[in-house]
Amino acid sequence: MRLAKRLHSAALRNRAFLGALLLFAVFYLVYHMLHPRGFSSAVLIQNTNESVAIVFVAMAQTLPVLTGGLDLSVGAVMTLTNCIASELLTGTPAEMLFGALLTLACGAAFGCVNGLIVVYGRIQPIITTLATGAVAIGLALLIRPRPGGEVDDDLSWAMTNTVFDFAETYGLAEGGEAAWLQPFAAIPVPLLIVLAVVLFIWLPFRNTQMGRTVYAVGSAEGAAYMSGLPVERAKIAAFTLAGLFAACAGLYLAIQTSSGNADVTQAGAYTLNSIAAVVLGGTSLYGGVGGAIGSLVGALILRVISFYFRILAIDPLLQPLIEGVVLLGAVSLGALRTLRVKNRLELFR
């Protein structure tokens, strides 16, 4: 009885997230039903591969938004780390591992600088990151004036296919034939990568005092300060983690495309889509409410919408229009609850 009550109140609190999850499930199921070949692991692999980068960028955007800010540099940091990774992911496995870690460190460091400027320069996050985003693109162009790269082909193949392919490529688990591996053999590796980042970075962070402080700062910065919380360090941590997640996107993009590309338009599109994904996933732009898992689902919703254009004969010219309308509709669902509020003062709280 008590458990049921607690579950009920937890569901109410996570209403926005559950709504997004439901929306995604419906969209994705219908997509597979409409798909000429139905559900297949090849389609699943393709879908996950195309979703990883936007998922990570959306997770990155979540943290600054939770503190009540906005990070306009996440797409640019992805592009920058994409170019860095395209230089570093070659050579022996040890060198490649080092290169990957260095890429992630670069992203985190860039985010940290964002945080330092916001906190100690006392400049609004939106304008800080508009500027540093341009700097990131500039650096990316210096590293890679033209698209290209020497990303290891084995790595690229292994990371963008199933667990079986991964094991086969590297001769692990009897070349992928080991009996214990079979239940997992068909799972796409990119799915596991996202899962690992959520499980080993996001969830632990959320449950640390620093993570709690990020939420507190976004909800009521004054109260957080008065409670003796490390407000400044929490903001820096949020931007640093945003940089790290953006670097995850850049790193994966390099592996997926075997190259780096300092594409300015793409960086901008990813940044804007990340904001849309964050809102779709139930994170409040005022800060303090939401989470990276919601943004992950939000990003998936955005991606599924674009998948539809491939299987339905829709004029590509109409794509932005339809995407915009669907986005508007999905976000409006979240506003439905305000129709039920009977004390209108609560709308402003």
Binding site: S9, R13, R212, Y215, S227, L229
Partner: protein
């Protein structure tokens, strides 16, 4: 018996804000195991004093010692480490986190560097039980709680930090009577444990009931410290304001039948209002009494057009129906004004200048076409400032720079600009100094004499008795008693608040 060793000692402490002295050469001490009241009008320096003690502000000069050792705090966290914990008037809770998260916010129980939710929840439950608030769900968001419940969570949070000096800044002003008693018991318990308490309240009877030592501040100076009982109320008030106060309340006119301006019949909303019947006449001050949270606030909000789906009949100046919104309430033929519960969020735009706040409801009155007429605006602003005697530097200053009492005057002045016929007041004197309170009482009577109708909710029974022509006492969403003239006594109000017959209360 309080021990003689002071827990905290200040000497020569001075603090100025932009050239204005907030504290001047203050020497002050608070002993362990003592409940020590700090009295003074708003602007006397009480808030600055406690902010320096709790690390929110740093003193310009002077020395602070805790148990004889000199200390200097640059953040509230440092003060909390020394055992100095403050329950602030402006709540320090984070609305989007759960009650348990908030209570353990500063120092949650951890396992492997991560917050141990189970232990945190248990600890929060213990602390809530200690202040008899088992009804508060530790998993609920603070946002969902009423102001009085939030205040109790705030107290639980302070307790959780194991204070050695607990500072309560108007901490009881939003509480229900039952919770106030709980806090009294808690303070007595802490006193036994040799914890020092500083108690700031504008309610004299609370100070009388609780404190053993009293200190009076005036204009940033520490005037005098004395044991309870050494001075009469009259002497204390004299020390606080530096002059004698004659009658606290303006005289009440002879009761007579008045033509009703507001008539409410069988008003219902959700499960908070369960059939309210009420009338307020022109020239009349009607009080709303009762324990906190019995539907008084909802009633005022309903009349002001804030609530949706209100049932029942409401007649305002002969016209039927509740206003559709505050905007409609303001500009209808019979205009309604509401001085809201929380002046910091609902009453004022804190970061805007005083002038803009004063004009906010009456832009139409000072405009020519779509443009605000400067000359008209200036005249209106200076008239309002003069009428309410608002003490300020310049009307261009940010309203947040004013003291609490003067902020409330700005809220009232704003509404008087639209020349309302019906004035709804939601506890307008909460957390306000004695001098300003009296000015507000006087103003209410003046407005009534001008033929306006006043509906006045107050959590202070003395105000209801002193100010109102009639008092309606609410209990559980209904009006359970209507008191009139000589029938308005403390006994009658208390009895009705508890929904018992007066004989049973005596």
């Amino acid at each position: 018996m309080p021990s003689d060793q002071p827990f905290i000692q200040l000497a020569g402490v001075t603090k100025s804000f932009q050239g204005i002295r907030a504290l001047e050469n203050v020497a002050f001490a608070c002993r362990k195991g003592s409940i020590h009241a700090i009295l003074g009008e708003n602007g006397a320096g009480k808030s600055t004093l406690i902010k320096i003690m709790s690390g929110v502000l740093a003193a310009d000069s002077g020395e602070m010692r805790v148990e004889g050792r000199p200390v200097r705090f640059s953040t509230p966290a440092e003060a909390a480490k020394t055992g100095i914990v403050c329950i602030f008037q402006e709540l320090s809770l984070v609305p989007d986190l759960s009650v348990a998260d908030n209570i353990m916010l500063a120092d949650p129980p951890k396992r492997f560097g991560m917050i141990d939710r189970r232990r945190q929840r248990r600890r929060a439950e213990e602390l809530l039980a200690r202040i008899r608030c088992e009804d508060i769900d530790p998993d609920a968001l603070v946002r969902q709680l009423s102001l009085s419940r939030r205040q109790m969570v705030e107290i639980a949070k302070a307790l959780g930090q194991e204070p050695r000096l607990l500072i309560l800044d108007e901490a009881t002003s939003a509480l229900t009577s039952r919770d106030v008693q709980t806090v009294y018991d808690l303070l007595a318990e802490l006193k036994e444990q040799d914890v020092a308490c500083l108690f700031i309240s504008h309610r004299m009877h609370e100070v009388e009931a609780l404190c053993d030592t009293l200190s009076v501040f005036r204009n940033g100076r520490h005037i005098e410290t004395f044991a309870k009982g050494e001075k009469s109320d009259r002497e204390i008030v004299h020390l606080m304001i530096g002059r004698d106060v004659e009658t606290q309340f303006p005289p009440r006119p002879e009761p007579r039948r008045r033509e009703p301006l507001l008539e409410v019949k069988n008003l219902r909303w959700e499960n908070r209002l369960k059939g309210i019947d009420l009338s307020v006449g022109r020239g009349e001050i009607v009080g709303l009494g009762g324990l906190d949270g019995q539907g008084q606030k909802e009633l005022l909000l309903a009349l002001f057009g804030v609530l949706r789906q209100v049932e029942g009949t409401v007649k305002v100046g002969g016209m039927e129906g509740v206003p559709a919104s505050p905007a409609a309430a303001r500009s209808a033929r019979t205009r309604i004004a509401l001085v809201p519960e929380d002046r910091k969020t609902e009453g004022l735009m804190l970061q805007l200048p005083i002038a803009d706040n004063l004009l906010a409801s009456a832009f139409a009155r000072v405009s020519s076409g779509p443009f605000i007429d400067r000359a008209k605006a200036e005249t209106a602003i200076s008239a309002a400032i003069e009428k309410l005697r608002i003490r300020l530097g310049s009307p261009r200053d940010i309203v947040a720079t004013l003291s609490g009492g003067n902020q409330q005057k700005v809220v009232i002045a704003k509404w008087l600009m639209v020349e309302p016929d019906l004035i709804l007041l939601n506890d307008p004197t909460r957390g306000i100094d004695v001098g300003t309170k009296q000015e507000i009482y006087r103003l209410m009577r003046d407005l009534a004499e001008e033929g306006k109708a006043v509906l006045f909710y107050s959590s202070d029974y003395a105000e209801l008795i002193g100010c109102c022509d009639r008092v309606s006492v609410m209990y559980d969403g209904r009006i359970v008693a209507e008191l009139e003239g000589e029938g308005i006594t403390e006994e009658a109000i208390v009895a009705a608040s508890l929904n018992i017959a007066p004989e049973a209360a005596a």
